[in-house]
Chain length 345, copies 4
């Protein structure tokens, strides 16, 4: 297969490149950049030294859509809205890692992203790329909206509970924590080592653009869902997300029953690992892998369930999930090129 990556200079793009070079069905990888065309990837990323002389190409949609099998878009918000229409309609499947194509409602997008949304005709084609819950639609799609990092951890963690209607859909509180790579590669005061090291920060309280993405999927699962609370924090580490989620249980369900529901839902999903009671995951349990580890606790004093879900934000939260989608779109085995055990320690 011939692959193109737009926006390889960001963290999501370079991670895609790393994984695709080891993917057995990938024949060629072309790299595109609007800002740095003409340079080579090793000028930007010193760890690519001697590995590649890949030159960054100008984005030429006509040629790309005709010659490439899959195009990954890993550019900042706003780029995909403009670029996607030009890439569809020919051979290439498009997998977009930005938030541009995830929300069905253009007004919701504008409100949370402070940008104009993509045309409805494009949004209508975009299939939400959460493979564990949407595999059939993904397999037949031309355009995939790859989920955000927080939504991936949250939705995999809440899905079975929402579908089983055993918890109060107006009680969802999500306290999410991410490594600093989630803030991207551009230097800023908030990601400067002197500020970030030995520091735990909270940001975008009630304002994170992943809130409507999560609500959209939750509502599809359960129409009674009301607006959620999502708090996002920066952990002084590079990779990893933990979402700690709280809901009130409706009825006299036991923790054992809940865990078994989860295990049943995910038993055929190779990348979701439902853990036994009390065996809580840490983010390092999934470092540099495509796994999502989930564990539940139930407090009988409060009848609240606590769901803990961890992923690597650059992997299952971005690049490796995008490749999982590529595998499905291209009719490959879902796990191809993704069977990485977590890197530990």
């Amino acid at each position: 297969m011939k692959i193109g990556i737009v926006g390889v200079t960001g963290y999501g793009g370079i991670e895609l490149y790393r994984l695709l070079t080891a993917h057995p069905d990938v024949e060629t990888i072309s790299l595109y950049s609007s800002s740095q065309a003409g340079g080579t990837i090793k000028d930007i990323y010193s760890h690519m030294n001697t590995v590649t002389n890949h030159r960054l190409l100008d984005i030429q949609p006509e040629q790309m859509k005709r010659e490439l099998d899959v195009i990954f878009l890993a550019a900042p918000a706003g780029v995909s809205s403009e670029l996607t229409p030009q890439l569809l309609g020919d051979k290439a499947k498009v997998i977009d890692l930005s938030g541009d194509l995830r929300l069905h409602n253009r007004n919701t997008y504008s409100q949370w992203y402070k940008k104009e949304a993509a045309p409805d005709s494009v949004l209508a084609q975009a299939v939400y790329g959460l493979p564990e819950w949407n595999k059939e639609n993904i397999a037949s799609a031309d355009l995939i909206a790859n989920p955000g990092c927080y939504p991936t951890a949250v939705l995999l963690g809440l899905g079975p509970l929402m579908r089983s209607h055993s918890a109060d859909p107006s009680s969802i509180i999500i306290d999410a924590k991410s490594g600093v790579s989630g803030a991207g590669k551009n230097p800023s005061a908030i990601t400067h080592f002197g500020h970030t090291q030995e520091n735990f920060q909270i940001y975008k309280v009630n304002e994170h653009q992943h809130i409507p993405e999560i609500e959209q999927q939750l509502t599809e699962w359960n129409g009674a869902v009301t607006p959620i609370t999502l708090s996002t924090h920066l952990v002084p580490m590079t990779r990893g997300i933990m979402a700690t989620m709280y809901m009130k249980l409706h009825e006299e369900i036991t923790l054992r029953q809940l865990v078994e529901q989860y295990q049943a839902y995910y038993q055929d999903q190779p990348f979701v690992r439902v853990r036994e009671e009390g065996n809580f995951p840490c983010t390092k349990d999934v470092y540099a892998s495509n796994y999502c580890d989930i564990c539940l606790a139930l407090d009988n004093r409060t009848r609240r369930v606590t769901v803990v879900s961890v992923i690597d934000n650059l992997m299952k939260g971005a690049a490796s999930q995008a490749i999982q989608n590529m595998n499905l779109v291209c009719g490959l085995r879902e796990t191809t090129g993704l069977e990485y055990l977590p890197v530990y320690p």
Copy 2:
């Protein structure tokens, strides 16, 4: 004043020692250790090299209670229950940093600490040392139960809201995060650098022994409080706690009104800094200081209030709060020896 520290070999104890050597009203400091008596403090702590030849003494209660003005107990759970009765009744005031004397109810203690509680006669004398809410009782006490690290952050963050009865007391969810020093100085698998670095961990879900301590104080403020949810996490940093707390608001109160309530409650409290809307603190804002920084947010979509409270767990969460209590007990100005600006970066 003549001061004694029992348990100086732990993180709380050595922090007490550091602060007390710079306290203008402290004349002598005697150090006690059951396990390492006979050694010197610099044998244990290399950063004390050449600073001190302080020898660690055997614990001799009779002499200590007679000769010392203030005795700090910074020993592991269980020690204070036995030692405190022998130290009371003479000159010395006792300030206990452990959890042994904080809970009024002996059964509750046994249930959460898995140990036998101190005698009721001792518990009855122990005054809960949260100065911002209990100053008068502290000033006249002989025995202070210094609050736990999580309870300090949580109670300072929730106090005004509980007292104003403007939020639903059955809706309290607390998601708390601590630096690794909270787990103490003893090496273990959970605090080993290879495991902890680049890792975010959750622990003691619904089982942390600080839960009943928080509930006890909340209930004193508002009898309608029901069991709370508290989740505790380990952040890959040494110092700092952030508690992110969620409650449902009763009525049509505005965020501005809430912030003003907080500012009014704390206006005469030198170590609590209530911040303006949107100006959320990070843990580094209070690093190595006695401050607690608090900020609130209100989501009008959900009518949930989010309260964020940060402290340095070894300072306001342990040693410097203990000295704040000492100042009050001894009739000194509350801020004496504690006017440290945060260390940044």
Copy 3:
């Protein structure tokens, strides 16, 4: 191929396991442990959850040597000296990751390791497994002594300079820095997060057991080498070694010539990347990969050359180099199962 790992509970062992599960020529992996036989690997390593039910077996040398193709020994110093003689002489090739079999001289071993050395008959069979300099001997060996982490970085960095005789062999000073995983998995005061975070430590000054290993190889390259100076430091990070090395240059050689010598020496070595002048590597450039990156500088004011060499201590410094040796020993392509790009960020 059927593979066995002895000592999978340590960092080196679990890294071997991770890499071998992705190796295309590996058919089965058996895990052995003297201390934890009977348990499963996921009981020890939570990130292996659901991945494996591999049970840890008792070490049974007779059976192992007969049935396995390759046995990796990743046990603490002293174990291999005793175990290796029982594993040789049948089908299995043995690759030892400890320091037990690297030194030819038994007295030198005893002096630096404070243990009794392996029998001369075993030492005589052990081939030093530094593939870039010893490929032919490795290919025909039954027993490989996998190099230490510091020696790997140092020897790859100094090799061409020693062979070209262009520097003073009595002037070698090596200042080496390692991530904390180099100190192993056992919790200790020196690897406790509270001590290690925000800390840079020096240890074993002039006493590190890797000194004689480095000197042995340097002397083979250049008989005029005198005792070296090696300082070892712990960096507050998990993985990575940088060796900064200083030598006095003999003659009027230019930096350009030196770099070209290095590039010529290593041009057919897939895992050594000689960088251009001024383009110094950092440890993250080789994170979780088998690469060694090398760069040189020459100060014309002092006529001293500075050689900088970086590796991942658990990969090229231990596990992935061991698999590189396995590939050579088994007649596979040297890079099989090792073509990992560095994980960044």
Copy 4:
């Protein structure tokens, strides 16, 4: 005393501010900034929230020199060269934390700093502010050039050895490591958390502008000193410098004798702690303090001495040393306002 700080928005400036607010002889502190005049310090530094409403003033040299007792310059290289002449000649003493006034030779400055040097008339007045070696000159100076961070660690570590002429002055190799705060507060690719975390970097090999500063002082101590080798590295931590230094010993001096020489030299210096053989310091031993800890090792195999010296780069390497100089210049006790024990853990 009335104090002014120019450049309080940088790390050195804010550290000065923190320390000066706790200094017993400081009456007022005025803050100056060319870039951010009109703003307040808490707009820039969130941890100063509620502590101060200090407004940043425009730099007005005429008024400052007349009204202030001491002016600290903590601005980037180049500013002091221009500003200092306007501040001298009246009441104010000037203490400059930049590198502008440290080098006697204007050409040397231009060569290493790539800027034009200050006028000779200004340089002639500048006294090098290394108190342990220059106390008398400092006490009578109007203008102090506060030493660089690396030079402080290096010169305190080498001083006694240079003065005793017991080592070869042409053999000095210095391998220095610094926390990331040494690179300043401005965000950049090199200090971005995603790049710096889990990374050890080398930079400015043979090109660091602190080289001539070190050589200038070494040559004053021993005219036979030849150009030195200095390598500088970035450690993934915020604060701390360790210099590991190597020299060849001339004669049959023992380690014990060397240590005693050091102890004799520094016995009246309150901030230099010479440690016993084998008791090597780590950077955390001096965290947030004005101490410099030194330890020596001698390898009888090589007759090389290894000197290890650690400081906090923002304290003894910048702000607290500047205050030590202020104390001397103003006739105060040298330790006033500086008696901080290291913060640990």
